[in-house]
């Protein structure tokens, strides 16, 4: 069965269900957060499904104890809460002891648009990538989301997986390994857009628009935010005269920062423009499209700003 068209969260959890059904040492801890596809897990694999209540700090510590005891643990909650509310526990227990626990954050960026800044995860990349040993994954389509469940299950490192919501169009074909950490999803000659997650789709749209202005734009999906595949990134970047980074994350510390750090540290001098969320909380609410407009990340504003920069 192809995962194309499947809800991205369901794609991840359906694969995790199969993994857990085959390995009774896999445990799923949730801080009282559900999902359509988790109902089957809860019903059929009841002994492996533990709702710890709205207590993210304890969820991380309990996951730590279970892992020290030999279990393979996945923890799940809304992205801002499962990273920031329990950051200290993640730092000391998971990162500090380098335990192979997978943290699943539902709703990265401004997925939970009109729910406001409490529910927005726009600093999580910045803080999570500061933790030694932490692998950060951000699937951009259901095929990749499904594969990432398997990758994190087989990993010996802590992992943070940011999972969007809804039916994102398929970019990849089933069978992809996703071991490179990044992928050029559209080729081009003049400009390279580097994006992650949902914004890869926006990058593809902008690339189409730029074509009308005779700008042949490539799009890179940086799906493994940490560790970045530095050599592959540098190889790819060297073929372009200009680079745009595009993310639904604070301008401080996200993938734009990560890319810049690598370019600077390797003496790669290429003009870069970062498009991200301004360093301020939103004060007006709306759906995701409206919020993008509010933050200047809607297609038209982005296009105009890129053209003005070029």
């Amino acid at each position: 069965m192809t995962d194309a068209g499947l809800d991205i969260r369901d794609a991840f959890f359906d694969e995790l269900y199969d993994i857990a059904a085959a390995d009774s040492d896999v445990l799923f801890l949730t801080a009282d957060m559900g999902a359509f596809s988790l109902e089957r897990f809860k019903k059929n694999l009841n002994r492996q499904y533990i709702n710890v209540g709205v207590a993210e700090q304890n969820m991380i510590s309990v996951a730590t104890g279970l892992t020290l005891g030999g279990k393979k643990v996945f923890v799940y909650a809304v992205a801002p809460f499962v990273t920031m509310r329990c950051y200290e526990q993640i730092k000391v227990n998971i990162s500090g002891m380098c335990l192979p626990i997978t943290i699943i954050g539902a709703g990265p960026g401004i997925t939970y648009n009109s729910d406001g800044p409490t529910h927005h995860a726009v600093q999580d990349i910045a803080i999570m990538r500061a933790l030694p040993g932490m692998v950060i994954l951000n699937p951009s389509d259901p095929v990749m989301a499904s594969r990432m469940a398997r990758i994190s299950y087989e990993s010996h490192y802590p992992a943070y997986v940011r999972i969007d919501k809804g039916r994102l169009p398929a970019i990849y074909s089933p069978g992809e390994e996703f071991s490179d950490g990044l992928s050029l999803v559209k080729r081009g000659r003049d400009l390279l857009i580097i994006a992650t997650g949902l914004m890869v789709h926006k990058g593809l749209k902008i690339a189409e628009e730029l074509k009308k202005h005779s700008i042949d734009t490539a799009v890179m999906d940086l799906y493994r935010i940490k560790p970045v595949n530095v050599s592959l990134l540098l190889d790819s970047v060297s073929q372009y005269g200009r680079i745009v980074t595009l993310e639904e994350q604070s301008i401080i510390g996200g993938i734009g920062s990560a890319v810049m750090e690598i370019l600077v540290d390797h003496g790669t001098m290429v003009p870069v423009k970062r498009f991200a969320l301004e360093d301020k909380y939103c004060e007006r609410y709306g759906d995701r499209e409206w919020m993008h407009k509010h933050y200047g990340l809607d297609d038209r504003t982005l296009l105009n700003n890129i053209l003005a920069w070029l």
């Binding site: 207590a55 700090q57 304890n58 510590s61 309990v62 104890g65 005891g69 000391v92 227990n93 002891m97």
Partner: protein, 285 residues
């Protein structure tokens, strides 16, 4: 297991002597809380409560001990070295450049189960280990040592709720109730009392003991091995911060004070035990 109280008492003096010497040597360290929990730790490790294998620290059937009040790890270092988890000579390196023994314990040290130092996390880890034992039908128990000041952390109570809900009767929390936090007395700072009622209200079986009475400690801990209990066990151990060295007892400045040479000499006299003496049980010499 028949344990001589005299042996435990002398072992505690030897551990306290090590603590004082290590802190004097390093010119830093949390001394007061290490001295308050020494008798508890000695009872756990020499009183036949914690099952361990110093030559195989990851022995699967060992009991798990979590030093949640990580700042008192120095007391545990002395015990682990004495038991053979690592050479005694390592103690002299405490907090020195390149030492494996830092101010707070981590898993690189043989015998340490989990990193600690940031308060309020050990009980959740202990609950996870206890749940794991239950899921796998394994017999090991988990003992977590918490400071009373640590009970200000909300995560302690998240874990307390979780442990009682899951009927983790293989989990024991020992609270070192020395009545002091870093800069204040707990009841003057933010009241912890009624502490027993709090643990009880969270669904724990609670017992209150004198944390310097080996008889009390061993009785409470041995009770934790009785099968058939449905609740986790909290032992509120009333202790004295700075215990064993008269001028340090109940004095706020000895949370992490460093003794002067004169103070060290006084402490040595009061503890009255030779640092090089190998303390063993009567009849086992």
């Amino acid at each position: 297991m028949d344990i001589s109280i005299d042996f435990l008492e002398k072992k505690s003096r030897w551990v306290r002597r090590q603590i004082v010497e290590m802190i004097f040597n390093a010119k830093k360290g949390h001394i007061g809380g290490a001295l308050s929990c020494t008798d508890i730790l000695v009872s756990l490790f020499y009183g036949g409560i914690i099952r361990y294998d110093a030559k195989n620290p990851s022995w699967p059937e060992r009991d798990r001990f979590i030093m949640s009040k990580g700042h008192s790890g120095i007391a545990l270092y002395a015990i682990l070295a004495d038991l053979g988890f690592f050479p005694l000579s390592e103690l002299a390196t405490f907090c020195k450049n390149g030492s494996m023994l830092g101010g707070h314990p981590d898993r690189n040290i043989p015998g340490i189960e989990a990193d600690s130092g940031s308060l309020g996390q050990g009980l959740g880890i202990g609950a996870g280990l206890s749940l794991c034992a239950k899921l796998d039908s394994r017999k090991y128990k988990t003992v977590v040592l918490l400071g009373d000041g640590e009970c200000y952390e909300g995560s302690v109570w998240e874990a307390a709720m979780f442990a009682s809900h899951h009927q983790l009767d293989n989990l024991v929390a020992v609270i070192d109730r020395n009545q002091q936090c870093v800069t204040d007395f707990t009841e003057d700072c933010v009241r912890l009392e009624p502490l027993i009622d709090k643990w009880s209200a969270f669904g724990w079986e609670v017992t209150s003991i004198d944390g310097h009475s080996y008889k009390d400690i061993l009785h409470a801990l041995n009770d934790s091995r009785v099968d058939g209990r449905e609740k986790p066990l909290a032992i509120v151990a009333h202790t004295t911060k700075g215990k064993g060295i008269s001028f340090m007892e109940r004095q706020l400045r000895w949370h992490h004070g460093v003794p002067t040479m004169d103070e060290l000499e006084t402490a040595r006299k009061e503890l009255d035990v030779d640092l090089c003496e190998i303390v063993v049980e009567e009849g086992k010499k």
